[in-house]
Each structure stands twice: as C-alpha cells, then as structure tokens.
Symmetry: C2
Subunit: 109 residues, 2 copies
C-alpha cells in the first residue's frame, strides 16, 4: 500500500512540538489539531502519534501529566519543555532548509 494520505516522514515530531507549543494538549486533541489546521490534508494516526509522544517524552522535549479534561475524563496532557522549544526551533530550521532546497529543484528551468 502506498502512502496515500499519510504525512511526510520526518515531520511528525516537528508538527507535534509545534502544536503543543501553543498550549498543553492531550494526544487525541493533538491529532485533531493537526488535522484541522491542515484542512484535513494531514492525518496523524494514533499508531503513529503515541509512539512519537513516547519518543518526545524520552528525549525530554515534552512532559506529561494526567489531568481532568473539561468533559470530566482523565487525559494525559503534554506540555513542551525548554529543551523541546530548542528542538522545535532546530527541526523547523532543518525543515525550512530542505523545503527551500526542494523548491529550488522543482522550480529549476
């Protein structure tokens, strides 16, 4: 099966960090935020999301705490750390360089 509507490899942690930077959020909400912000163009599957969050936790880029959502449910809320902010900046720069480089080729005569 081809990567039909998935998201480009290598960008998942970038997107998560970017979304969580705004405000602490639980996993399910992160996935939905990415979906809506991208006008349904990008979909983060849960089987991708939670392992990615574990990685972010292990690297100390986010920290998690169990809280109660507005609907009264127990949810695990992820908050970006100082190191996470640095990482976000770094990944965003890398991505931009790549995107520019690819654009240069796609626009070459």
């Amino acid at each position: 099966m081809p990567r039909a509507a998935g998201l480009p490899p290598g960008t998942l942690s970038l997107l998560i960090l970017r979304v969580v930077r705004q405000e602490p959020m639980h996993g399910y909400a992160i996935a939905q935020k990415i979906r809506t912000l991208s006008s349904d163009q990008l979909s983060v599957e849960e089987g991708s999301l939670y392992p990615a969050l574990q990685k972010l936790l292990a690297n100390g880029w986010v920290k998690a705490e169990w809280t109660t959502s507005e609907t009264g449910r127990q949810v695990r809320s992820y908050r970006i750390t100082a190191r996470g902010l640095k990482q976000l900046e770094s990944e965003q720069d890398d991505y931009q360089r790549m995107a520019d480089a690819i654009a240069a080729i796609l626009q070459s005569t």
Copy 2:
C-alpha cells in the same frame, strides 16, 4: 545515526524525475545535478539512487539506454517517458499540497 544531511524520505523519485525531465542523464550526473541545484543542501547517495532508478524503470516512468558519454565512457542514460511525466506531475502536486499543509501549521499562531 540520525538522518543528518540526507534528503527527506518520499521525495527521491520526485527529484529524479524532475531533473531527468530536462534532459536524459546518467545516474552519476543526476546525483550531481540534485546536489548543485540545491546548493549542496541535498545529497543523493548512490546506494539510494540506483535502487530508485530501478524502481522508476520497473514502473515505466523512465527508460534507459547505454550510450557513450562525451568522455568516451559507457554510461546508462535515463530518459523520462510519457507516463513518467504524468507521475511527475502527480507527485509534484502531492508534494505541494503537503508542503502547504505543513506550512499552515508552522505558521499558525
């Protein structure tokens, strides 16, 4: 080792097709072209390039013929096909949609 200076997964065939669209080119030249067009930002390793070219051949997106280069060496020159042009268009559209979607998230308030 992390993906330090490699190129973003999913874009290799797109870049190859785009470069070969201009003029038939042999493998080694394709790699160099991508490197120079991207100002050394993207590097295509030969171990990635040739398997990718095999895939393009198998899909009928390029055809190859052995020719003699200007330096007198036997080289395998790859030329894009009509189907390859369609594929290029499709992949470029996909890439653009993704890039736009990611940009939307990275630029969100």
